[in-house]
Symmetry: C2
Subunit: 336 residues, 2 copies
């Protein structure tokens, strides 16, 4: 069997089980969440890594290199934000064909630097190697706060409780709509350009993540694979089912304007919005809302049943079937 | 200009200068050493990353996947050892063609796990993505001890002083000889197989690095690009010249047995031995020797002159010219 047949998530599970069952006490969070957490003395290090491959996650001949640099770092920052952590320093690995223009690398690094400055990240090192295919791999470190008992303050995928409300920051689908726009036309008309920016230069919700964690929210994930799939990851990790009311999902207004027929589907299944899903009792989320710098919309709830799956409901309360429900790096779109 | 013309080290310098001149106080060591060091509270995190690309650093059709996994991690561990640190946890990124056999990935992970257990490293997370080319990227975290004043105990490339002696652990050239053997014959005769193991499953000198740092050695680097080139990096970082007495360099005995004519050259310029170069006053090195689990051989000294270059001397005291002096990932072997 090859890894394409097995699929990304089954492969991760397989490799996870190949590792020693016994982990040291310093490992607070291992494989299976948005980032790992390691205790160092009385502090907590949060660590994540994310790769972008030319032709798979971007197209070097088409995507502005400045945007490649920004997005490679922003995706990692989002994983730290999804743990309730604050990013600190990054290691940058560039695999470059020898024929890559130095100008391209300069621009990529300028975008990366801009994102680093925006989110107070220090580039501390990395690796540069020759490769037939360009890839940008970033490892990002961060820190988590600790409570008065010295325990880490984290947003975990595993921490949902039956009856909790599910909320999402900002609006969804913009990144997927932007990708569609980029593929459809060049140069982009002005209005579509703003949507493309959601795809090319996503924001990361660091302030929202830390504010939510400090206010007592204990469960979250970022929307990187697509809302339905990411809430599915959270359900699996927490061992509970969830219900999302599609009519309550905040859809990016520019997406509604440009692609009205597909806007809801893109908001439910489109990836790379890098908004945060927060799960907590409704009154906790209501209290947190005032502390966030972005809108927070309740879109569903965790159920009592233990199937580990997510159900989408249309406004009439019927189950909604998505033609595509997220991204598998090997299988491509369309798997159930 | 493309990155092949510019070369790896010039590109790193260029990107380093593109970053903000002002670094936060938490960044103790940034770009330009074997690993970065970051202060977290009163602790010190050491961080490095290293990539292996199929067809560049290994050949997936020829190299046993178990060895690919071992070596990918061992190379990173060596960078932590070269700072005097202790490795703690790793993030593993696999870029895999969809047609990669799951068995290959299983074996790669088994090798990685074996190396992780040998050096007490925990695999805490990672990323798996689809890619036309297989690459294995590891980010490894570690910790450095601190002295009674709370300052980190580190081996730095920058810390050499004129008059210091230069020593190296173990013996050199085995990895380069092993590579030659692997390329020359299959199956390998028994004696050559031991040499091939130096290439395929290198050891990392963690215990030697921490023992040296704790005993007061303040300057070191690992032999990854080749002795002459790595001592050259140390000279550049310390702003001093160095002199290596080629006749004193410990050459791998199996290398001498199999390739007597080229053994010294391979020991001076061959990469990936992952031994440690330690630089300190002679009496300090003599005191450290007893605390190490490997031989430590003095091979030269730091000079008063500030050229940032290394001079190789033959037994008669004449300058020795190497036909090749190390590895540039873009330019390939043979640059000055």
């Amino acid at each position: 069997m090859d890894v394409g047949e097995l699929g990304e998530f089954a492969l991760i599970e397989r490799l996870r089980h190949a590792l020693p069952a016994q982990a040291p006490a310093e490992l607070i969070v291992g494989i299976g969440d948005d980032a790992a957490v390691w205790r160092l003395g009385d502090r907590y290090t949060v660590a994540t890594t994310d790769t972008m491959v030319d032709g798979v996650h971007f197209v070097s001949a088409l995507t502005p290199p400045h945007d490649v640099g920004w997005k490679a770092l922003a995706a990692n920052i989002s994983d730290i934000a999804a743990m309730g952590g604050t990013p600190t320093f990054a290691l940058i690995t560039l695999c470059l064909p020898a024929a890559t223009h130095v100008r391209f690398v300069d621009a990529l690094y300028a975008g990366l630097r801009e994102c680093a400055e925006r989110y107070h990240v220090t580039v501390a090192g990395g690796d540069i190697v020759s490769s037939p295919i360009m890839t940008v791999t970033i490892s990002l470190l961060g820190m988590a706060a600790s409570d008065c008992e010295g325990l880490p303050v984290l947003l975990r995928r595993t921490a949902a409780t039956a009856g909790d409300a599910i909320a999402v920051t900002g609006a969804l689908g913009g990144a997927a709509g932007g990708l569609r726009g980029i593929k459809s036309a060049a140069p982009l008309p002005g209005g579509l350009r703003a949507l493309a920016q959601r795809q090319l230069r996503p924001a990361s919700r660091v302030d929202a993540g830390t504010a939510a964690a400090m206010a007592g929210v204990r469960c979250g994930i970022d929307v990187s694979d697509g809302l339905a799939q990411d809430v599915g990851h959270l359900c699996e990790a927490s061992g509970l089912d969830a219900e999302i009311r599609a009519g309550d999902v905040p859809v990016d207004p520019a997406l509604v304007a440009w692609y009205p027929d597909d806007a809801l589907e893109l908001a439910l299944s489109g990836g790379e919005d890098y908004e945060l899903v927060l799960v907590a009792p409704q009154e906790k989320l209501d209290a947190v809302r005032a502390k966030l710098d972005v809108p927070l919309t309740v879109i569903g709830r965790m159920l009592e049943t233990r199937g580990g799956t997510v159900r989408l409901l249309d406004p009439a309360g019927h189950t909604l079937k998505l033609p595509a429900s997220g991204w598998d790096h090997f299988a491509g779109r369309g798997h159930a």
